[in-house]
């Protein structure tokens, strides 16, 4: 067996994997040990196999490296060994290892899909709120992604937010956009986490009012909601606590029509239909329309 130790980054793995490939170490001979940024790089030494340098360069399709880099963001115990197995097979001429119909390829594509989906979740279910701390960013957000997608996926917000500065903190890492550059911290600083976890501001009330009214209680459909917006995100969404409340209201009322209760309770107004004078819309109407 060979113990491959590296710094936990894709670049580090790639370097180690290249050396192992050149030594002809097969996938089932390697155990991968990653240490992230804090620990001493390669402290425990290099692979213990006898070094024997291959003279021929290893050739794999460029596309494979992109796939492997994306799949490396998937958090799981055997994160790196699958990548090496696929790399080994492709570099030995078996390109089907990259395809979704293959035994290894299907696992690779499952991870790629999960990583893409998690990046999409970041774009969708992250909520910024204004930050009023002096010299702080304009907006802050707290998010809990299931995979290591923060760094690669957060450029999206630089496109959206114009000249605003912002900060996203997670339990693991964090990013800070100062208006020009994205700074990524492998371990999210304490003060970033504190800024990002500030309690919700007044402005959220408008959003909650909108969310409550745009729901049609006559169409309650919990399973579709949970498939599309996994429950694990609810606790960090301002509308999260509102969801069970809206659902139980809809059930209790066994509502047959779609109107929100908050609207139904108000007094209504029928528009009088008149053919004569020009009127303003504030409480009255204009000229009759041709039938």
């Amino acid at each position: 067996m060979v113990s491959a130790r590296f710094d936990g980054s894709f670049a580090g793995w790639r370097q180690a994997a290249r050396e192992l490939l050149q030594q002809g170490v097969t996938a089932d001979q390697v155990t991968w040990y990653s240490h992230d940024g804090d620990t001493d790089l390669f402290a425990a030494g290099t692979p213990c196999a006898t070094p024997h340098l291959a003279t021929t360069a290893i050739r794999v399709p460029r596309q494979l490296l992109n796939l492997l880099e994306s799949a490396a963001r998937y958090r799981c115990a055997d994160r790196w060994s699958l990548l090496y197995r696929v790399l080994w097979r492709v570099s030995h001429g078996d390109r089907s290892a990259m395809l979704a119909g293959d035994a290894d390829g299907s696992e690779l594509h499952k991870r790629l899909k999960a990583v893409r989906r998690e990046a999409h979740h970041l774009h969708a279910f992250l909520r910024f709120q204004p930050c009023h701390v002096e010299n702080g960013p304009d907006f802050v957000a707290w998010h809990e992604p299931a995979h290591d997608i923060l760094h690669s996926a957060s450029g999206h917000f630089a496109e959206r937010m114009g000249q605003h500065s912002w900060l996203i903190a997670t339990p693991q890492d964090g990013v800070y956009w100062d208006g020009q550059r994205l700074q990524h911290q492998q371990h999210c600083p304490q003060e970033w986490q504190q800024l990002a976890q500030a309690p919700g501001d007044e402005g959220q009330q408008l959003w909650l009012a909108y969310y409550g009214s745009t729901f049609n209680p006559a169409r309650l459909n919990r399973s579709v909601l949970e498939n599309n917006m996994p429950v694990r995100f609810w606790k960090n969404l301002p509308e999260g606590p509102l969801i069970p409340q809206l659902m139980s209201q809809a059930r209790a009322g066994a509502q047959r029509d779609g109107q929100a209760q908050a609207v139904a309770q108000r007094s209504g107004k029928i528009i009088r239909y008149r053919n004569d004078s020009e009127q303003t819309p504030s409480g009255s109407v204009g000229p009759g329309l041709p039938r």
Binding site: G101, N216, A260
Partner: protein, 403 residues
Amino acid sequence: MQLIDKLTVLADAAKYDVSCASSGAPKRSSKGKSGLGATNGMGICHSFTPDGRCVALLKILLTNFCLYDCQYCVNRRSSDVPRARFTPVEVVTLTLDFYRRNCISGLFLSSGIIRSADYTMEQLIRVAKLLREEHQFRGYIHLKTIPDADPLLIPEAGRYADRLSVNIELPTESSLIRLAPEKQVGTIKQAMHSIHQGESEARAEKGAPRFAPAGQSTQMIVGADDTDDSTILHTAQSLYGAYRLRRVYYSAFSPIPHSPKTVPFEAPPLLREHRLYQADFLLRGYGFQAGELLSGPGNLALDIDPKLAWALANREHFPVDLNRAEPSLIARVPGIGVLSAKRLVALRRHKRIRFEDVSRLRCALEKAKPFIVTQDYRPLQAGNESQVLRQQLSETPAQMVLW
């Protein structure tokens, strides 16, 4: 009235329009620039409501005052609902605030008809113009076009909006006459035509000013009248053909408070709506024709999906040999989608497809099994009659009768 109260009323009034897409816009970015917003072609659903529908855009009415008396509509003039009206600046403020919070990807603005169709349309355009020109907003804007408004207003709307839409609401002229007395099929189609023309002109001329780059869509209400699915799908197909619509949305009629006697007072036919969306998807993505899915009058089956129904009715095309068949025919196998069909074709360049490979692609195997042949698998003849398969594959198995 406070802003929050207006929002409560005008979001409630707008939710019966089911269109929600924020996709199809060209790539725009505000990175390092003044202003706000980006689009990248992909839609983003920022939240989902307990009815399972997504929130991609701030969907509101400018006002729910309305001169029209469409019987299916909660905002009809004879309806006893609370009324409210936003100022254009209020809509702009809300849009920008929600956008910065990352709650939405843009605005979907519609309105009741006030004063006149032209006046109403001008007000909608004013909001879009404020967002684009004063605030340099680069997010998504969808404007609902008022069909009776002056066609000259459409080019202006198309300059600011990513998507324009006109709701046809009912699939036949007779239903429109009965339930939406102020609306006319003629003006609705005229508006769709003007939008289509604007799109074509902008595409034809290099450097022409942009015009609704995400195209146009429409909505049909299902279950407010007695039109069948066949008529609905054929209407949709002709709209796709005539005006190059990007999407037809189907909205199961939602009973409304103090419902008039002309419309039903029943729970919304959500499953019927779902089958129509599935059938519509087959029209847009799989090259099916409406006549293949429903050859005569009638409705789509509720117990099985339309692709399975087609396959059971056309057994002569099956089983399909996954190692030989055209990709388009593989995509017609129930349980195998366009993406899986592509992946199977890519894989068979390297090896013979085996049953195990299909299972790894996470196709709906139970559905696909009777319709495919692989290197190591061929469906049994016995017990494969369409009638038997339908019973096995039905999503709502018939209850056994107890004696």
